[in-house]
């Protein structure tokens, strides 16, 4: 039945492309989570009235974050070609898309992390200080756990944006469902392939959203 409705769809290719999309999204979400939290913590801690208050450092990190957040993703991929070649060795395939995906998404997430951290009651940080907590204790036992629901919902939004980015990266040769939809669907005019790729991307997005919402509600004890 499927072969009549979707004559041009080769399922092995579809599954391979889906696996590539999941791979790219998975790795880049993990890396964005870590990198974004580090950048976000630096932004927060160096801002006025906080533990590492430092105007110069804060301005520099903010500038870095703003620049990479503002460059349109498709241009960022092209700009990063030399860098990608240097660390991955190639500019084709799923691996080669990772640097651009991470560098594009981490600053975006870093801002969300900063906002989440700013939402924490200053009194709680003061209380931890009054108990004699070190800065690392404050980071790992106060700042991160207290902002975790916001960090998770932020990474959910970022992950969904990353699924979109992987599709764009696909156009310039990264593989995945975006690549398939572009090469098979658009260039060969096989609309059924585009349709299937779209449905699969939608399913991935829904699943990410569901997991994100579920985890957020589980850990939010407020």
């Amino acid at each position: 039945m499927w072969s009549n409705l979707l004559p041009n769809v080769q399922w092995e290719k579809i599954w391979a492309a889906t696996a590539e999309t999941l791979y790219m999204t998975g790795i880049s979400v993990l890396a964005t989570f870590v990198l974004g939290i580090i950048l976000g913590l630096l932004l927060f801690l160096t801002s006025k009235g906080n533990i590492w208050e430092n105007k110069l450092a804060n301005t520099m990190i903010a500038a870095f974050v703003n620049i990479f957040r503002s460059i349109p993703f498709i241009i960022l991929i092209i700009l990063l070609i030399p860098f990608t070649k240097l660390i991955v060795g190639t500019i084709l395939g799923a691996e080669a898309a990772l640097p651009a995906l991470i560098i594009g998404a981490a600053p975006f997430y870093a801002r969300m992390v900063e906002i989440a951290l700013r939402e924490i009651d200053k009194g709680v940080i003061e209380a931890a200080k009054s108990m004699g907590a070190t800065t690392s204790t404050i980071i790992f036992k106060v700042l991160l756990p207290e902002s975790m629901p916001a960090l998770v919902s932020g990474i959910t939004v970022t992950a969904i944006a990353l699924v979109g980015y992987t599709a764009m990266a696909g156009v310039v040769g990264a593989g995945g469902l975006g690549n398939l939809a572009y090469l098979e669907g658009f260039q060969r005019n096989h609309n059924d392939v585009t349709f299937v790729a779209t449905v699969l991307i939608l399913i991935i997005v829904f699943v990410i959203q569901f997991i994100g919402d579920f985890v957020t509600s589980k850990i939010d004890k407020r």
Binding site: D121, G123, V124, E126, A127, A128, K129, S130, M131, G132, A133, T134, T137, K141, V142, P145, E146, M148, I219, K221, R222
Partner: protein
């Protein structure tokens, strides 16, 4: 236990400098409950935060349990802070942790092994009366219960000093009283020195041994709570004392009486401790040819003893009334003739 000498705290703001604490010297004895009262902006918040180094004094010395809090930092400061517990107006609990985990937090910071931690947390939960709520999250607790968690957390590392930053200001009167009772109980049982700041004279009356009154960064009056209640010297202190002794309507009643009985006098009598137990009224009526009318009275219990205020109206000849007032003063009772009430 705590000695402040010439402590000043100056904040730099865009519009110039603000002197929050102005040349304050203070001595707080071991084991006492010391209250600092003042309106908001008086500098009491900055003062209490200098006691554990959350704020650094601009000049002067802050000695707490033998350490100069104004001049230590890093590891030594963190170690010192573990010996000074603090509780807050808004409790400042970690919402992501249960009651048990919140109380265990300072123990984790101090590096206490897990097994001992659990044991100590159980003791503390019993101490503050939170049995059965160990696994609740702060959002599931009432204000009073949250402050109990705050107190347990502050006591976890067996501190020598407990700082209370407006600890009852966010609580209703009944809960306030139960938290104050708990603080007195802890003070007696553990011999802990407690320093509290508040804007409610009720808190001072109920639990403090001594009190300091702060106004625009300075301590304007200091002394035993009973002494301050009996003979407040500064106008601001009088206002605070009135908070507990004189209900709002008293002023109205007095001006009404002054109008109604233009002859005679309205006298405010202030009794302290034993004086409250003498049959003063009976003696006045028997010994002097005056008529006595009791207008209003109130007895307040302070941490150190009873304290009463009584308003009476007396009428008779001028000479006789003067004698009555002299007599009252001989009985160690403060007497103030109310003339015009603004």
């Amino acid at each position: 236990m705590i000695t402040l000498s010439n402590v000043t705290k100056i904040y730099k703001a865009k519009s110039g400098t603000v002197t929050a604490v102005d040349n304050v010297s203070l001595h707080i004895r071991e084991g006492e409950i010391f209250g600092i009262i003042g309106y908001s902006g008086a500098g009491k918040s900055s003062l209490i935060r200098m006691l554990n180094g959350l704020e650094k004094a601009t000049s002067g010395q802050v000695i707490v349990a033998g350490r100069d809090m104004a001049n230590i930092k890093g590891r030594e400061l963190r170690k010192a802070r573990q010996e000074i517990g603090m509780i807050f107006q808004h409790f400042n609990l970690l919402w992501s942790r249960t009651v048990r985990e919140n109380i265990a937090f300072p123990l984790e910071i101090a590096g206490v092994p897990k097994k001992e931690r659990l044991k100590r947390v159980d003791e503390l939960i019993k101490l503050v009366g939170l049995e059965g709520r160990e696994n609740a999250y702060p959002s599931q607790l009432s204000g009073g219960q949250k402050q109990r968690v705050g107190i347990a957390r502050a006591l976890a590392n067996n501190p020598k000093v407990l700082l209370c930053d407006e600890a009852t200001s966010a609580l209703d009167p009944q809960t306030t009283d139960s938290i104050l009772d708990l603080l007195v109980d802890i003070n007696k049982r553990l011999g802990l020195t407690i320093v509290l700041i508040t804007h409610e004279m009720h808190v001072i009356r109920k639990i403090c041994d001594r009190v300091a009154v702060m106004e625009s960064g300075k301590i304007v009056e200091e002394g035993e709570v009973l002494r301050v209640f009996r003979k407040p010297e500064q106008p601001i202190t009088k206002r605070f004392v009135q908070q507990v002794t004189e209900p709002e309507e008293t002023k109205e009643t007095i001006s009404h009486l002054l109008e109604k009985y233009p002859q005679g006098r309205v006298i405010q009598l202030t009794f302290v401790g034993d004086a409250a137990e003498q049959p003063l009224m009976t003696n006045i009526i028997r010994k002097f040819n005056v008529s006595v009318n009791i207008v209003q009275g109130k007895i307040s219990q302070t941490h150190q003893g009873a304290y009463g205020v009584l308003f009476i109206h007396i009428d008779g000849t001028e000479e006789e009334m003067d004698k009555v007032i002299d007599y009252i003063r001989q009985q160690q009772v403060e007497a103030e003739v109310m003339t015009n009430v603004e």
